[in-house]
């Protein structure tokens, strides 16, 4: 079958690989109908996540049709149309039973690697480094899903792939980020980053009762989506100082909650931007916490900083004094997707949200190398790419070079 493989930094390729098979009783095999490139895949593309090996199949946002089930899977049958959550969770351990599925103790066969870096291991993830399980991902024609009796959710036929695909990661991730803010009526929420997760965080904050949401980015097309589709007020940090503007927009008090939907590859002008780039180049820090710093400083006293953005290792110059003296609440974590699948599917069915608004590109699976480059460099007003295995090309294959030179 065809699969998108990580072959090195800034090098993903389409490869012919064997089809997956059932390895454990609770496995299922899914034929992929839609899969997406996630912002966190860009961290893999740029080589910032350790323990990737060339040949690893990428992709953790996918959905499709069940084609085979193991003897331990009773709730799914061949032909079911399912969306699959990106964390792999057993459903039986202490954390799964506490609805903290992304902390499952039983799904990471390489838990020791994560323990060396983080002290303890979270759940295994699809296509996201060997430290997090080394599971083959879903940017392929078929994928093996472990604990298939716990993860995948059946979706009704009248909803399109584009409407339900993002239940696999970014919609629950944005929703959990907003939920972590403990939003009260009248609250103002500021969101750094108007990528797909940031957009879902904005939409979810409104769903959870926020009065105002202020979105911060530098790409006009993304700010436009935030304003037009999500009804957020917008700030372009190339034009204004976000901290000063947020202060003025909130009467000097600051937003009640701040969401960092940027993560480890933040971008900034001025001293800190240069400082982080130098330190990261010298391998003296692994992540660039630009948005996190701003969120901590901008947040009101006693407010909440919620971090759905991915950080992998070590960061520098975090204003911890501000966290302590302003009595901030910090909430973060990989998304407990399994917990949110049912309630968020209900929201989609009720028509309260149509997640397909974030999609900017539909491409055949084979165009993934071009799509990664385009998405990373925000070319062609790219916000979210959906890949379709088996889709016919209606034009010549674009080359990676066609995605242009990096902007940063």
């Amino acid at each position: 079958m065809k699969a998108i493989c990580w072959m090195g930094t800034e090098d993903v390729r389409i490869q012919d690989v064997p089809e997956p098979r059932i390895l454990n009783p609770r496995d299922a095999i899914i034929r992929i109908t839609s899969t997406a490139i996630c912002g966190s895949d860009v961290h893999l593309y740029d080589g910032y996540i350790p323990t990737m090996m060339s040949g690893d199949i990428l992709g953790h946002e996918f959905m499709g049709e069940v084609v085979e089930v193991g003897p331990g899977v009773r709730n799914l049958k061949v032909g079911d149309r399912v969306v699959n959550p990106f964390p792999i969770a057993c459903g039986a351990c202490f954390f799964c039973r506490s609805e903290m599925h992304s902390l499952c103790e039983n799904s990471n066969p390489n838990a020791w690697m994560a323990e060396k870096l983080w002290g303890h291991s979270p759940a295994g993830l699809f296509g996201y480094s060997h430290m997090l399980g080394g599971y083959a991902g879903g940017q392929a024609e078929y994928v093996r899903v472990p604990f298939a009796d716990v993860g995948p959710i059946k979706v009704p036929d009248h909803l399109t792939d584009d409407q339900v695909l993002f239940l696999s990661d970014i919609f629950p991730t944005g929703y959990m980020a907003a939920e972590n803010c403990n939003i009260q009526p009248g609250d103002t929420v500021a969101v750094w980053g108007c990528g797909p997760v940031g957009l879902f965080a904005i939409a979810s904050a409104f769903l959870l009762g926020a009065e105002r949401v202020i979105a911060i980015d530098r790409f006009p097309e993304r700010l436009r989506v935030a304003a037009e589709k999500c009804h957020a007020e917008t700030l372009n940090y190339e034009d204004t100082d976000p901290q000063e503007s947020l202060r003025e927009m909130t009467g000097g008090r600051g937003p009640d909650a701040c969401i960092d939907a940027v993560g480890m590859e933040g971008h900034a002008h001025g001293f800190f931007g240069t400082y982080d780039r130098v330190k990261k180049t010298l391998r003296m820090q692994t992540d660039r916490p630009t948005a996190l710093r701003q969120a901590i400083l901008a947040c009101r006293n006693g407010g909440t900083v919620s971090i759905p953005g991915v950080y992998g290792g070590f960061v520098d110059k975090i204003p911890f004094g501000a966290i302590v003296n302003k009595a901030l609440v910090i909430r973060t974590g990989q998304t407990h997707v399994q917990k949110y699948l049912r309630p968020l599917l209900d929201l989609i069915q009720q028509g309260r949200i149509d997640p397909s608004f974030v999609i900017s590109h539909h491409l055949p699976l084979e165009d993934a190398p071009y799509a990664y480059r385009m998405f990373r460099d925000k070319q062609d007003e790219c916000v979210k790419v959906v890949l379709k295995p088996g889709a016919a090309r209606n034009r010549p294959a674009p080359t990676v070079a066609a995605a242009g030179q990096p902007l940063h």
């Binding site: 060339s54 039983n106 066969p109």
Partner: protein, 280 residues
Amino acid sequence: MATDPAETTAGMIPPTPGYERSPGVEPPVLHPAPTQLAQRPRPFRVTPGRAVGWAAAGTALAAVFAPRRLANPAERNITLIAFVATVAAVDVAVNLRKTARSRISSRSHAYELLEQSVVVDKPPSECYAFWHDLRNLPRFMPLLESVEDLGSGRSHWVLNAPAGVRLEWDAQITRDEPGRLIGWRSLPNSNLAHAGVVRFEPAPGDRGTVVRVVAHYQPLMTLAGKRFARFLHSNPDARVREDLRRFKQLLETGEVATTTGQPSGPRSLVGRAINKWSQV
């Protein structure tokens, strides 16, 4: 614990925290294995390489520390020889001491202690019953080729250790308290002289069972080998920790999480080597 090796009964394990917590378990007597896997220290020898090293180090030290005013060539040579001789003497002394010390330690109480634990979300009785059925052990100890029950608490074990080493031993259950603990030790003529106990302690707050393994074993590797194995997460401590993790997975989920057999794109040479290693 006796510090003078002469006072220690040869082959006896010193008492450990694990045993102190389990009154009634006597420190088991270990017999020397027929194949001596623990590498003997190499006797100290003066090799040409070592002599060159002395000369180089002595000359360097002389260049730095010798009095500058020695104009007479004979005096300079004598000084140089004195420096080289001092370096050689210090090196010989240090090495003889090291050799002597390792001889003592390999003769008597050089057994290694291992302690690992895991929380399993099942009651102690269930954990005990699963472990007590010896047929279950190879399901979570992948290095075990077989365990054969010989009756009356005795069993025969075959283990395929990394690097093609095959270990066999007979074990005797020394203590068996249903729902609480199982103690065992290897019998004479074992490849792997060891003794251990696995305890099933109720976790606080009714959160299942703390399964804790405490064991003593005859050292299998040199110091360098041990460090290398630890780096690869393949030393005995790591192996037991992974065994316990798989034990937990089997009891809680009915299967062991794996990716062995899944597809991948072409691997690099290093990737293929790692895959090969991780499957032993």
